[in-house]
């Protein structure tokens, strides 16, 4: 009795009977791969083709029919055809009426057409339920099973039933459907696979400009200046010495730029006396690419670390140390041990190592799989507390390093200070402002503002801030 009851209850459409047939229009690479994968997962597959006889390349077990015959066999029709050839579908409007059409097409350029391919399809076959899906998956990955890149399938569509059924299909193939809402989202979904690291563009450009400027600055001070005044050929410095000046400065500056927008936002909120006003667009954008800025900074810090560790292997350094020793022997001068130099040197090395260690920790916690296992309190603790500690350690590292150089007589060259002085401007500014912001009186006001308090309250938010989440 119980058994019968179970079998009759429809759990989902495609479970009380056999797996439903899926129809694929088009026998190109992606169509065949998808068909192959569907067959593997137990779905009967029928291909719709202009030329149904030719099936040498099609996966075994698939049927090949004319478009209209194939369409009649299934509720779900995957349109594996380029947008330019959609027109013939208008002849099939009657057969396609009420069917679910899955648009999987991609374009060659971002915003190539005024409306998305999926919306275009919906206009051509108004009686069908168009769902956008699968366009982010590669044919090769589907067939080989080597889903190294994303398993995420963005799905959008105006009809929820249709969308749900396509999402079930996606899930059955071992992929992860992500509902992106109505068909309006199709445009963004079609642009997605054409993007090339959009969030990284600003950080990378910024750091390129920064590096170029610092490189030229260092070339002028360390290569051209000695050449002009002392006729010394110091060009070999271009390979290691100058990069090892550019990279740490870029790293520290970018790290400070990660924390600068937060400080600016706090000042804005204090000034406005409310958190209920949008930040300017540039600040919003800056806040959203902080992670990328930080990772670029970490890259530079990593390069700086290796370039530093490699110093004693360099021919120039070995030659200089040897000559120093030889000179000392020949001149018979004593070189006493100066504890304060040892202190300064060891302190700056140690601060750098600890700063780099925390920086690497920050980098690891920003890996998607790691940040996914921490809660928001932990995430904020790492990114804010540990992040500021990193900034403090790295700034101190640079300051102590400078401590030695201030004693150096050849400090200014053509009125240009040492490059590391430039590195200190932004980090010190950020740290000073942050220090002011965490002073009790200011911090209290800021906390109240962030909890919803307003200096010139409108009624709504005053109420909201008190009772609602």
């Amino acid at each position: 009795m119980e058994k019968i009851h179970t079998d009759e209850l429809p759990l989902t459409t495609n479970s009380s009977e056999k797996q439903e047939t899926v129809c694929i229009f088009g026998t190109g690479d992606f169509g065949r791969s998808l068909g192959f994968k569907l067959l593997q997962c137990g779905y009967p597959v029928v291909f719709g083709s202009r030329n149904p006889r030719m099936s040498s390349l099609l996966p075994k077990g698939a049927e090949v029919l004319s478009h209209s015959e194939a369409a009649q066999k299934s509720d779900i029709i995957i349109i594996a055809i380029h947008r330019e050839h959609y027109d013939f579908l208008t002849e099939l409007t009657e057969v396609l009426n009420g069917k679910i059409l899955v648009d999987i097409s991609n374009n060659l350029k971002i915003n190539q057409y005024p409306e998305s391919n999926a919306e275009h399809l919906a206009q051509l076959v108004p009686g069908a339920h168009v769902v956008k899906a699968f366009n982010t998956i590669s044919a090769w990955a589907l067939q080989s099973g080597a889903l190294d890149a994303s398993r995420q399938v963005f799905v959008s569509g105006n009809d929820s039933t249709a969308k749900q059924r396509v999402m079930d299909l996606v899930r059955a193939l071992g992929l992860t459907p992500l509902d992106q809402g109505s068909l309006v989202a199709a445009k963004e979904i079609e642009n997605y696979p054409l993007q090339l690291f959009p969030m990284w563009r600003f950080p990378l450009r910024l750091s390129a400009v920064l590096c170029l400027f610092l490189f030229l600055y260092c070339v002028i001070r360390d290569v051209i200046y000695p050449y002009v005044y002392e006729k010394k050929d110091e060009t070999f410095r271009l390979a290691v010495s100058i990069p090892n000046r550019v990279f740490p400065i870029a790293a520290l500056t970018l790290l400070a730029l990660v924390y600068l927008p937060g400080v600016i936002a706090a000042i804005l909120q204090l000034y406005r006396g409310t958190k209920y006003r949008r930040f300017p667009a540039w600040l919003d954008h800056w806040m959203l690419c902080r992670k990328q800025l930080g990772l670029v900074a970490l890259g530079f810090a990593f390069l700086h670390a290796i370039y530093t560790l490699v110093i004693p292997i360099r021919y120039y350094v070995r030659w200089r140390l040897k000559n120093l020793t030889v000179t000392q022997v020949i001149t018979n001068k004593d070189s006493p041990f100066i504890p304060s130099s040892a202190w300064l040197n060891d302190a700056y090395v140690s601060l750098g190592i600890l700063g780099f260690f925390l920086f690497v920790l920050l980098g690891i916690t920003s890996l998607p799989s790691v940040s996914n296992t921490v809660n928001w309190r932990e995430f904020r603790f790492v990114q804010s507390k540990l992040g500021y500690l990193t900034l403090i350690l790295c700034t101190a590292h640079t300051l102590v390093y400078g401590g030695k150089k201030f004693l150096n007589p050849s400090f200014l060259r053509w009125c240009l200070p040492s490059a590391y002085v430039l590195a200190l401007i932004i980090p010190c500014t950020v740290l000073v402002i942050k220090f002011i912001l965490i002073m009790p009186c200011i911090d209290k006001t800021l906390t109240r503002i962030r909890q919803g308090w307003e200096r010139n309250p409108k009624i709504s938010s005053a109420l909201n801030g008190k009772t609602d989440i």
Copy 2:
């Protein structure tokens, strides 16, 4: 015909008709962000507010009504109100009868109230189905889409239908619902976002105590002793030399502590002659935080590696090497090459590098996304076989390093042996016991015990061990 059939079949509640309306009580930050996101995903949203006119900050497209009017429009009501203000809901009990109330609230402290907010809500509105959800998600993340931290939404509730519908909602927003069972689990779910690395607390405290002890030990031996007996100022050692003694010892000790509980557990099982008795609580807890212990150890090993690589850059080291050379020239003594010293030195360096390499590999495989792609056999292979190999290499590294120092006359200072001797105690103990445990006769008994065999069998487990999984 076929088409009509499809459209009429209810796949899930919210797919045969338009997306169902969701009601949100409260117009605070989180309420608005959630409303914004729901609208984006195609759900009609209606806000319930005490003051329905004010809607300047609310997302476009949302309706604002009084609480009771809003509640009538939807089956699912999200309660975005602080627990302290739940009381007014008692006035709405009639309207809320049979509705799904989603409690998204958090507290300020762990275990702030005797019962969870969700259970409190269920007591206030006994006719409604209360579901706990969304409390681990941040408003900012919802709105900006920057879900850097967790996408996991813990869901609990006593009514399965209600829970299922909330889980569908969660999924539709692109988040991952995790069913945590009945509403009793709400307490734990509410505590979760307030936790700060609970599994890391013991390993971090342990290593802090360990580091402090080792630091003081080294200060006494390497700074105070020379000062007392030779009046030498060696305080500069505090910055690099002593940390580079403390870190490797801490790393090796913690790594050994990762494998010690497994060895203790094996001895306990051998002694008891059965695996069907619980381990003491401290052992269970220790076993569960082995991963964290190992990662802290890896952190120390990383620091040790950089502190070591930085040695030739240090002022003190350069000064000493220069002075050694100068002395050799002046005294005109020959310094012959000693192959055995080269062997010892190179062997210990090489063992350390290989040990560190394997240690980094272990760390990488413990990343959630990597460990998620291996099966249990592979995971155990890496964590056990590779782990023991790492421990052996690192212990050998320390032993060979010591090999040089035993020849040193200034071995004991104030009866204190060199710090590295302390480092060897636990690792050597673990390795010796492990070596005994894998001897065939003992290993065979242990394997049988782990397969369910008992020395003094009770009937049940004797049977189970033989036939059941």
Copy 3:
């Protein structure tokens, strides 16, 4: 009204009423752990046992009955019994008729039986719906909640309803079900937990052979040759110097082998004039383990980096540098600074660092969680463009390093060239062919072929290539 409507609509089987009961046959470790977890998630659990009285070890709240009584209580019966004891189920065929039997068993060896355990079960109880699931999860992980390794549960079965219900169960336990199709897939699913890094086997074996060959080669040139001709004991080189020759060569060769199959495939496609013919099996296999090859290469590059950075700490190096200085003082010879040497040395160091940096970047992007967040265009950009840049930098690093050595008179020893010369063969070959392939005329043809064009077209693919995706 609305409320009642909601409550009556069956969302899924197990939501309109209380959670359904789950039956577990067998009270072994895994059975008990699964029962414990199911109870935790709100499912009533009933155990079927030969000896229903003994329940001391069973989780609290579970019922224990005889097999046939327990089976009657539930639709889903989890068979937590070893395959060898399945036979008694034939006595229960009547009770089990129409039930869902979940086979969770594993074997001790790959392909231990001609047919999978699940298929065997289906033959024994033909009236039941057998579903394979849970076999990849460990009992310990289920009970402790420490799901460090995979959360993925592979599910297969011939009946879709049954499979769906088991998948719902899997999801409710916080695990991720992956539909693997019909019960034929059970064999593969049962083999999965017995696998030990199958994709890594070829890369690891290849690199083991490569390392052994290079090691012997270096031992002959650097240890045996000086011993035979100069009676010098250079055996201490075995520990650091020779590994630091073997590792970089292995790294560069393996990195080149990552890009070689792509180049071969391109030549094959050009030669055949079509992409619609399968590559030979060895090439397919080689293409699929490129990621593993690259990661092994990265491991060697990492070792090479540390072995290099450690050079100035070595006793041998310090002794040699000291002696060089002493000799210079004694012979009173001047050692002038040679800028070209400084250039060569710094350039090769810098190229190596940059190459290593990009290599590490490639490694990070191949982490599952990172590669999951990039789209295909980005993934291909990183793995192809950045990959070739890495190969170019590393090859240039080796070439410039060689640049110094060509000046060395002791170039050939027993007609054997320096080991690094071997390292250059494959990378240079790959780069030269790639350079030819990207020349406009050839690149154009290749691109057309990859878009579906054929030199000797058959009708089908000519059409497909033009219009279908």
